[in-house]
Structures are given as structure tokens and as C-alpha cells.
Symmetry: C2
Subunit: 360 residues, 2 copies
Amino acid sequence: MAEDPIRFGILGCADIARKVSRAIKLSPNATLFAVGSRSIEKAKKFAADNAFPPSAKVYGSYEEVLDDPDVDAVYVPLPTRLHLRWAVLAAEKKKHLLLEKPVAPSVLEFDQIAAACEANGVQFMDGTMWMHHPRTAKMKEFVSDPQRFGQLKSIQSFFTFAADPDFLKNDIRVRPDLDALGVLGDAGWYCVRSILWAADFELPKTVIASRGPVFNEAGVLLSCSASLHWEEGKVATFHCSFLSNLTMNVTAVGTKGTLHLRDFVIPFEEDKASFSAATESCFKELVTGWQSLPSEHTVMTDLPQEARMVSEFSRLAKGIKESGLKPDPKWPTMSRKTQLILDAVKASIEKGFEAVEIVS
Amino acid sequence: MAEDPIRFGILGCADIARKVSRAIKLSPNATLFAVGSRSIEKAKKFAADNAFPPSAKVYGSYEEVLDDPDVDAVYVPLPTRLHLRWAVLAAEKKKHLLLEKPVAPSVLEFDQIAAACEANGVQFMDGTMWMHHPRTAKMKEFVSDPQRFGQLKSIQSFFTFAADPDFLKNDIRVRPDLDALGVLGDAGWYCVRSILWAADFELPKTVIASRGPVFNEAGVLLSCSASLHWEEGKVATFHCSFLSNLTMNVTAVGTKGTLHLRDFVIPFEEDKASFSAATESCFKELVTGWQSLPSEHTVMTDLPQEARMVSEFSRLAKGIKESGLKPDPKWPTMSRKTQLILDAVKASIEKGFEAVEIVS
């Protein structure tokens, strides 16, 4: 472990916090320092189950974590409806903020969180782990290459999984008082992020939700689709659902090349991940087959993508803490753009699938 | 070769007719019997270049092919605008009809062709070759299996290729007087067919074209997208384009399984083709990877898919000719449904991306 690792406090004992606790443990510049839950018993059990060091602080409230002067950064996996309150308070307490997605129920609330982080000079980052996989950087090289990929023309992103009946009724992600965006804020967040990532975070002009979204009894989205439109015919579509077999395909097509992968959010295996790249694909004479087949590229990683996320976040936090650097605005900007598109999809559904203009 | 193979006449010397001539040659129950072109010289050259037998008839007009009493069946690769005239005349001359796609500029014209075939007792089939690959039958088993695939929820189909500037201006497929449907009738035909195929040819309720279609100077489509909507949230999207790298991905997701392939129209290789199938995919503990990876399935074929198409068509034609069987209505029904969706996409574009109800 590096000297003076970033000391993490965790707010709440959400299931995803187990994965991120392991990531903090694996990250060379971060350490598990505190956990807080509304129940001290739950916090104690969480610390024990997740191999927190004996010195770790265990608190019976979120406030105590934020009041601990030795906590450098917090990871907040609370239900989205609680983000505004706890994320703003964390920033005000000068804690760097690693916030789970969706970052807020709406961009209006996110802007308050981002403003609090900016005013208090703390780093903001959302929990989109795949952004930090070295495969993502390799894919970016490919889609940015005018010779191999050319100009982006269309993107299709798919993230579905089959939730069980209990999840569809009771999970945090389908409760209007906790995560009102439903599948759109969960699986849809990743689809939208992958589209923006491929489009170099250029916002589309228009977003249109597709007909036929599926809701649960409480009115929360379980399945939906939408299309994003830029000028000159560049188009993206995505489909997210809690009602279909686990699938996470992205296809991005440029004038000269094609990127394709089938495990963009969670790679099939932890230590490596692949993507398929094709350039100037064409047919054989008489169109009896292909002349240039897509090639598979495998990228190894020494750390799981979530540990790389923690490391990058901690690197930025350390720069601020130790060298007086400014927070990197790249991460909150990406979060905001993603949230902006989610809001537009939701608005389009509410307006009967009308086109919604994007104003950044 | 089987006894009494079906004797084919070919109308015109289109580029695709070279591939189909080879397919007729490879097919055990079919034979190259005649070719007609408006130029006898072109017809002669075509027959010589494509290894027609010395006994083959070479005509300086399409009419002469249709008037030849020894021609059993015709393959018609003429521009779509000419289909009505020549397909109806072929049926009236009692020739079984293998017609290139798109089958007509509109379903209204197609219905006249289908009616002529029915009235004259001849078999109709369109030239959608991939329907005849043994891979397609294997994939159908998978998507029909309630245990491995479950109920179909969403489909995404992509067919794009990068045409050169000359094609974009002058090719038959982008000339309003010849193939007014442009990319929609060409690449889009295959996308729509793949969607209907996955949906067991159940027609959607609604079709909506996406914003941002691209046209050439003559007003013919070069790139477009659309979505198809059934009840209960089942949704399909497709994207077809002459402006992007060659890509042909289909993803179909059911409640229990996922089908994926990347060469659905033209398999990468001629003698075999693969698809990926996943069932009840799920994550490992802590969501650090997948527990059940998609598996690759490779299907060998003794004949290229286009030769299997010719064989199936010839088998049906022989049944009518030799055993007094009725034409198989399955093939014109699939053609009609495909055309109906193309018409709806076109209408939706013309109406400013309004939803178009499908009335079969």
C-alpha cells in the first residue's frame, strides 16, 4: 500500500458496497477506514464480513462518518432519493465523493450535488466501473482512429437482466420513493453512458423514448427503449430491461470500422476483457463470404475495474489533499450528461413519446 | 444432378445474377437453361462468363425467355420498378418465380404479383438467401425453445455497408426510377426480415421511423432506422445504411436466453456459420464476472445458402410440376409481411416520423 492511502468511509451497507469494499482493499492508494449504518449492529457485521481492518471505525449513523475528521472520502451507495441530502452534506464536510449511479433522480438535484462539491473543493466521481477498465481505453483508441474507425454513424447499446418477482416488487431500484428512475436509472444509465462515451460526450440534439415501456404496479419503469439523434443522421438506440436474459451488447459503427462487445458493464472474466474490431470490412468476389473478418482484442488487467475506479478516484483525491490540485471536472461532467439524457428519456415517456430537445 | 432438374431462365444480367447462376449450377435439382437480356451480346457474354452449358438458350429479350416452353422457372433480378410487369408476365406464362428483394416498390404492387402467381399455380419465393442456411434452422430451434430462450422481448438488427461515391449516385439501388426504396429496400429488407423471423412473423402493431434519415440528391434513402412495437413491450429496432462500415449484427433477447450473430445476411465463410446462444446468464458472487458465458455454435453446410435456396425453390416447383402439388404459401406470405413493414417505415418518414399502425 502506498503511504497515506485515501481513507474511505462507506455510508450504508448496500449489497454493492461489498464489491466496492473489496475494491478499496485491492486499491494500492486507498484503505477501508469507516462504515456507518443506521443500525450499529449492521455496520459491525458489514465491517466483519468485508474484512475491514481491526482499526476501522464502525458508526451507528451516516453523520458520524461524515463528522470523522480522519475520513478523506466517502462512498455513497444509498438509494438515489437520498443522494441530494447525503452527497451535499459529505461535500460540505470536505469529503471527496464517490457516488453510486444514477447520481440523482434528476439533473436539477445533481447540479446541487456538483455545486456543493465544487464549492468545497472535493473530487466527484460516479460509480460507473467499466469506464476504468483498460479495455475501455483500448476501445477509445480504436473509435478515435480516423483510419481504423472513421466517423461515428450509429451506436446500439443493450443492457438487460432477468430480475426475480421479489426484485420486481421490492428492490430499491423499483421503488418510487427510493429509485424512481427504475431500470432507466440502473441498466439504462450504463446504456446511455456507453453511447455518450462512443460519441465522445457530444450531446445529441434530440431524445425520443420508444413506445411500450413496461412499469410495475407502483409505476416504476421495468423496461424501456429510446433513440438519441445528432445532426447528419448520427443515431443511437438503447434498450434496458429487468425482464430479459442478462445481455450487455454494444455495437458502434463508423464510416470505416465497427466496434462490438458483449460484456461492456461487467466483463465475462475479472482479469481480462475482449472486444471485436473491424476495419473496412468487405465481401469476397461473388459475395460468398467476408474478406476482412472482425478481429478479437483481449486486454488484461492487474486490478478489477472497480479497484481501478477506486485508485483513479483516490489518485485525484490525494492530488487535492497533498498537492493542492483542483478537482478534475471531467468526472462530474460525464455524470451530468448521462443524467441529462436519462431525464430526457423520462420526459419523452411522460409526454407520450414526443421528441425532447437536449439543452445542456 | 437429379433427373429432370428445374430449368431456370434468368431475366437480365445483374451482378447478383452471377451469384445465383452459380447457385443454380451447384443445386442438384436445378439447371441453367436460358438467359435473356435486352442486348443479345450481353446475354451471350453472361452465359459464357457464368459457365452456362453449351445447350443453354441465349435470348435478346426477356419476353423470349418467358415464351420458351421448356423454361420451368425464372430468376428475376431486375430493378424493383420493373418487378410488377415482368413478374406478373412470368406467372401468366406459368413460370415459377424466384424474385429478388425488395419484391416490389410497395405491398400494393406485390399483391398483384402474388395474385398472378396464385392464379397461375406457380411457386413464388423471394431471394432472401440467409433464410435457407442450416444455421437459420438451428437458431430457430433456439429462439423457439421455452427453456433455453423463453419469450421474445427485444430484437436489434443492423445491416450497414460503406458504398463508394459512384454507388451512392448511380447504383440501381439509389435511383428513384429503379429502386425508390434505396437502402430500406436493400439492407433494410434483411433487417426487417430478421426481426419478423425472430418474432415468428407476428406482425407488430406499430412502426415508427427514427429521425435523421439520410437521402441522396435524388431523394433516395441512404441511411435510416426504425422501431417496431408489439403489445406488452416487445420491441425491435433496426438500422440500415450505405454510409457505414459493413456490419450485420442481430441480437434477439428473450426472458431466458439471448441469440447473437454478426454475419446474418452473408456468413463470414461459405461452408459454415456460427451464432452465439446464452441461457439464464447470471453473475458470479459479488458481480465480478459471468457464471454462464454465451456459447458459440457452428453449423456446417454442404451447399452455400443461395444454392440451398435454389434447391428448396426447385423442390417446390418440381412438386407442382410432377406431382400436382399446390404452391407453398409460406414464402409469399413472408415476402408480403416484410414489404408491409418497409412500406410502413417509408410512410412514417414521409409523415414526419409519426407512428404507423400495421393492418395486415
